[in-house]
């Protein structure tokens, strides 16, 4: 069976010469939920930008469900990889929730009744159907993040990539989002600093540090290795124990 996501020897330098990735290898199977952990400046965002071809690999390859990311495959790649950004205000830019959720599928050429169905289904899956005709900036932060997830779900992605999904959420919204993510039947890659959230949602974790994958294993084991965490500037909240 082909993996949902496969990254092989990925290296990248920004045009001015600053290198951010130094040969990243990873493989995520279909249906897995994986956390990508790492300190600031480890290259997490740069890696995520490669997953849907916003950045083009300087060296190495990225393959999504068997399809390599190339200039020619971008359209299909962007349908398959759903990226949810950290700040929902960056993701929601249309005047109403309906138009915002429709933006992705409309770019894929879907129109009319089918578009309407997709929008409603996506909003239903995140429990935001009743907000369909409201302007996004009138919603609470937690609601906006759920709509942001819906905008991506409407494209029926193969893999959902979330950047810091739990940041700035109050405990109730945090729990609601976790329930939604668990209910979804897609592969999930979650970039986060929030180690307990990773433990709660993901059975497997990766540590990206210094532009390479420094550790890969069951979340429980990684979070129990205090030395490993300290070496990569990761910290569990006070009083929290993974085991």
């Amino acid at each position: 069976m082909t993996a949902s996501l496969e990254v092989d020897r990925l290296a990248y330098a920004y045009p001015d010469g600053t290198q951010a990735l130094f040969g990243v290898d990873l493989r995520i199977e279909r249906g897995e939920r994986v956390a990508l952990l790492g300190p600031n400046g480890a290259g997490k965002t740069t890696l995520v930008m490669h997953l849907n071809g916003i950045l083009t690999a300087g060296h190495g390859t990225v393959t999504v469900a068997g399809l390599p990311v190339t200039k020619g495959s971008l359209k299909e790649i962007r349908r398959r990889v759903g990226l949810v950004f950290q700040d929902p205000d960056d993701q929601l830019f249309m005047p109403t929730v309906r138009e915002d959720v429709a933006f992705g599928p409309a770019n894929m050429g879907i129109r009319g009744e089918e578009l309407d169905q997709r929008v409603k289904l996506a909003l239903e899956r995140v429990g935001m159907l009743e907000a369909i005709d409201r302007p996004p900036h009138h919603l609470s932060f937690g609601q906006r993040r759920r709509v942001a997830v819906a905008t991506v779900l409407a494209m029926e992605p193969e893999i959902l990539v979330l950047d810091e999904p739990s940041s700035n959420l109050d405990p109730a919204s945090r729990r609601e989002l976790a329930e939604i993510l668990r209910s979804l039947d897609v592969t999930v890659l979650m970039v986060t600093h929030d180690l307990p959230y990773a433990l709660e949602l993901c059975e497997r974790s990766l540590i990206l540090s210094g532009g390479v994958i420094a550790a890969d294993g069951p979340t429980r084991e990684i979070l129990a290795d205090a030395e490993l965490l300290a070496a990569h500037r990761l910290e569990l909240p006070y009083g929290f124990r993974a085991t």
């Binding site: 290296a11 330098a13 045009p15 010469g17 600053t18 916003i54 300087g58």
Partner: protein, 352 residues
């Protein structure tokens, strides 16, 4: 410097329109190489930024004020082709939305503030960074490029005014007024361009098109700590620059010549523009005799009051041609050096 409707004769407006349209078409093709997903909003931002700095009127000498043009800045930040498009968009929006610059004068405005500033600015910038490298060189080159681009644009304006301005003012007066004010604005433009480029270079070097030559080979780190260098990059960004710049310079020279040639050709047959100035100056016979620019220029060299602007524009043209020639020679030498030493693939990248 936004020229309003009715400022130039129809002939000049139409010829400049043709030049602007041709230039924009060339740049639309060229910009596809410069623009990728990440740089598209950059072009929009540069356009917005140019728009904003053009509103920033700052005082220059005795009660006059002028505004920045921004062409050199745009070229350094997003590349010359895209820069022309940015300038064209700014002028279109200003014309249609803000009533700044006449709609029939759009061609003139795009030619003067878009094509001329970008061509001269980028030409000067490449000329300097060809020989020198590093961030300080880029900043210094930005200053000089912007400094030169503004008076160059003012001189181009003077040339157009000479061949087809509707106002009967002595060309010498126009040249002195435009040249003087814009030399001062050039200093301001140079400073703002250099500081902006330096700031962006410090915070987000990946956003400066003109700094692409700084790229270094990629390094791979293995899991066990071994380090390997990727020998050759599939697509070095600066290598695209090598291909991209030469046609651009050629196009620049072409545009300058077409401007000089076509415009004076049109103007010579037009009773409203040159003839009027001609009558006033008493050299009408010569003006209609020599239809083409270069001829006319040679003749006017010794007529009082005229040569300042004209020779300036010719100077710009010559500078461009010399820049192109020097560039070609330098690159040929570089290539030979590369072939000799065999390995230094990064060198050529850095030079164009």
């Amino acid at each position: 410097m936004h020229v309003p409707d009715g400022f130039f004769t129809a002939a000049v407006s139409i010829s400049a329109g043709a030049v602007a349209a041709a230039g924009t078409a060339v740049c639309l093709r060229g910009a596809r190489r410069e623009l990728d997903d990440r740089t598209a909003p950059m072009a929009g931002l540069v356009a917005a930024f140019v728009f904003a700095v053009q509103m920033l009127n700052f005082p220059v000498a005795a009660g006059t004020s002028g505004h920045l043009l921004g062409g050199a800045l745009a070229a350094i930040l997003v590349g010359p082709y895209t820069a022309v498009l940015c300038m064209a968009v700014v002028l279109l929006v200003q014309g249609f939305f803000f009533a700044d610059g006449g709609l029939t004068a759009l061609g003139v405005n795009i030619t003067l503030m878009g094509l001329v500033t970008v061509l001269v600015g980028w030409g000067v910038f490449r000329l300097i960074t060809r020989g020198l490298n590093g961030r300080a060189a880029i900043t210094a080159a930005s200053f000089v490029a912007a400094l030169v681009s503004v008076p160059a644009s003012a001189l181009a304006f003077t040339l157009l005014f000479w061949v087809g301005g509707t106002a009967p003012i002595e060309i010498g007066t126009v040249a002195a007024a435009m040249g003087g004010v814009h030399a001062l604005i050039g200093i301001g433009e140079g400073l703002i361009t250099a500081v902006t480029v330096a700031t962006v270079l410090a915070a987000r070097p990946d956003l400066v098109y003109g700094a692409r030559g700084l790229a270094a080979p990629l390094v791979l780190r293995g899991a066990d700590g071994d380090v390997a260098v990727v020998p050759e990059r599939a697509e070095a960004p600066a290598a695209r620059g090598v291909r991209g710049v030469r046609p651009f310079l050629l196009a620049g020279v072409g545009v300058t010549l077409v401007l000089a040639g076509v415009v004076s050709f049109f103007a010579s047959g037009d009773p409203d523009g040159l003839e009027k100035v001609g009558e006033d100056q008493g050299f009408l016979a010569q003006a209609t005799d020599h239809a083409f620019g270069e001829w006319a220029l040679a003749d006017y060299g010794d007529v009082g009051g005229i040569p300042v602007g004209v020779t300036g524009v010719v100077g710009v043209g010559i500078t461009l041609i010399v820049a192109g020639a020097v560039g070609r020679a330098a690159r040929r030498r570089d290539r030979e050096a590369v072939q000799e030493s065999g390995q230094k693939s990064g060198r050529e990248d850095a030079t164009v």
